[in-house]
């Protein structure tokens, strides 16, 4: 798979390390009253869709940036990639 890095162009996915669903950027508020349950959901539960999936890839053997890659989990087609720092999903960074 080739990942279209916004700064570096097409890069082999082998240069990247995979983390998982992009919603992992939305860390819950640790001081909220329901923080324990919210963190449990955050750490352990996933949407795991069959189809379009937004996910975090780390360019470990490249410029060491985090990308949000949009990819189809049924076909492995990569639909786009953005720098995670450019994306505000809400919550803490």
């Amino acid at each position: 798979m080739l990942i279209p890095h916004p700064l570096l162009g097409l890069r082999d996915s082998q240069e990247f390390t995979y983390l998982g669903d992009a919603s992992l950027m939305n860390r819950p508020d640790p001081s909220a009253p329901d923080a324990e349950a919210a963190f449990c959901d955050y750490v352990f539960l996933r949407n795991n869709p069959a189809g379009v999936h937004r996910e975090l890839w780390f360019h470990e053997q490249g410029d060491r940036s985090w990308l949000i890659v949009t990819r189809n989990t049924v076909t492995h087609e990569i639909l786009g990639a953005e720098l995670a720092t450019d994306v505000k999903l809400g919550g803490a960074q």
Partner: protein
């Protein structure tokens, strides 16, 4: 129809006219006591044990394709009980005991072959870790032997013992481990369940659950609504998709695992061998092909095929371990979808929806678990209580802090 040596001789002399289909192909009834979603190894085993051990026969198994068309038909056929943690090892040892009696129990030749597994040791630290694991295995009654380098060399002289980075320093062996004919396992359970009155309904895809007031009433399928008092979901690989229809999010990601088989060769590999310095496991099928595999591809996937970098990685592992493998040609490779759970261990539990039960999260260890997963899921469905050996496999272990993390890598499914 009962299989026996006498039957084989009789059929040989009478033109094989006495063999019929192994199971019926019934249309769904309007309602059942129990519906099992998923006609793979685990689902068929659960139906079989529900009928045989718990005397329940008003049961249907719904399968969207043909029986055994998922991971039971595409794994590397290894059976073993060499786990470490107390939540896991007794369960897998129970499974091994069921394997040992499977063919007599189902009256079907599943070609269970206890040809041993050898986990290789490449460092002193790894020897300590395997010694600990071997002790855990012996506590559960599974047996296990720590072998010296010389003993390993005598048994499998073709390995690369003096690899510059990963010399072989010994091995942990379980003699009772081995392989089984994966399709034969599914067929044996299917036939046994069908003989006892279970309806095996193929080409019947579940498209939704009917849930009212927190209780499941049945399933919507491509062949209409089917009512049920209890529904057991056993669809590893598709767990996310199916449970999403019940509005549940799971501690599971779906990943693709590739497997490989070489051209047929003369007998060369005595049992199952695993490389301890990379991820590579190999055995030789009775047809002669070397059957092997390695890591999952590492990204969420529902495609039953992987990519080339992992092919290269697996074959590099093979070359490092046994350079002779480079002389064999690769015949086929394929992929299957794994339920990778957040701690690398499975779930066999009730859900918060009354009457809805779940079996999944097997990562890539589901085949060896088939008999025990079927038995313990049947136990749960029939009695509403977890089987003694499957008590740890609960949904709530994650928020209670009782994860069963055999590899110790945390909530990172692609690393298990």
């Amino acid at each position: 129809m009962k299989f026996s040596g006498f039957k084989v001789v009789k059929e040989a002399l009478t033109g094989y006219k006495g063999y019929g289909p192994l199971w019926r192909n019934p249309d769904p009834k309007p309602a059942y006591d129990i519906i099992i979603v998923g006609g793979g190894g685990h689902g068929l085993a659960a139906a079989y044990y529900l009928a045989k051990e718990f005397g329940m026969t008003n049961i249907a198994v719904l399968e969207k394709g043909w029986l055994g068309s998922g991971n039971i038909g595409r794994n590397t056929t290894i059976i073993r009980s060499n786990y470490l943690l107390p939540g896991n090892q007794p369960f897998y040892e129970y499974s091994m005991k069921l394997w040992e009696n499977l063919e007599q129990d189902t009256n079907f030749n599943s070609m269970v072959s206890q040809r041993s597994i050898l986990n290789l040791i490449h460092s002193d630290g790894q020897r300590d870790a395997y010694r600990r694991r071997g002790n855990s295995m012996m506590i559960s009654g599974a047996g296990g032997q720590l072998l010296s380098r010389a003993e390993v060399k005598e048994m499998v002289p073709f390995l690369n013992f003096d690899n510059a980075r990963f010399p072989i320093k010994g091995g942990l062996m379980q003699k009772r481990a081995g392989t089984a004919r994966h399709d034969g396992v599914a067929w044996g359970y299917a036939r046994g369940a069908d003989m006892r009155g279970v309806d095996l309904i193929q080409n019947c895809e579940v498209t939704g659950f009917k849930i009212e007031n927190g209780k499941v009433l049945g399933v919507e399928t491509s062949r209409g609504f089917i009512g049920a008092k209890k529904v057991g979901v056993s669809v590893a690989g598709s767990s996310g998709r199916v449970m999403d229809m019940a509005g549940m999010r799971l501690p599971i990601e779906s990943h693709v695992l590739q497997a490989f088989v070489s051209e047929g060769l003369k007998p060369v590999i005595p049992g199952v061998i695993t490389f301890g310095a990379g991820h590579f496991y190999v055995s030789q099928s009775d047809k002669g092909g070397l059957v092997f595999g390695g890591d999952i591809d590492g990204y969420n996937s529902y495609a039953q095929r992987g990519n080339l970098p992992v092919v290269e990685d697996v074959l590099e592992g093979g070359m490092a371990l046994m350079p002779m493998i480079g002389r064999a040609r690769l015949l086929r490779s394929w992929g299957g979808i794994m339920d990778m759970s957040m701690d690398g261990s499975p779930i066999i539990d009730k859900t918060h929806i009354d009457g809805l039960y779940f079996n999944g999260g097997w990562c890539y260890g589901g085949f060896k678990a088939t008999p025990a997963a079927g038995m313990t899921f049947a136990h749960l469905l029939a009695t509403d209580k977890p089987h003694d050996t499957a008590k740890a496999y609960r949904f709530d272990r994650f928020n209670r802090g009782y994860v069963i993390d055999e590899k110790g890598v945390g909530a990172q499914p692609n690393l298990h």
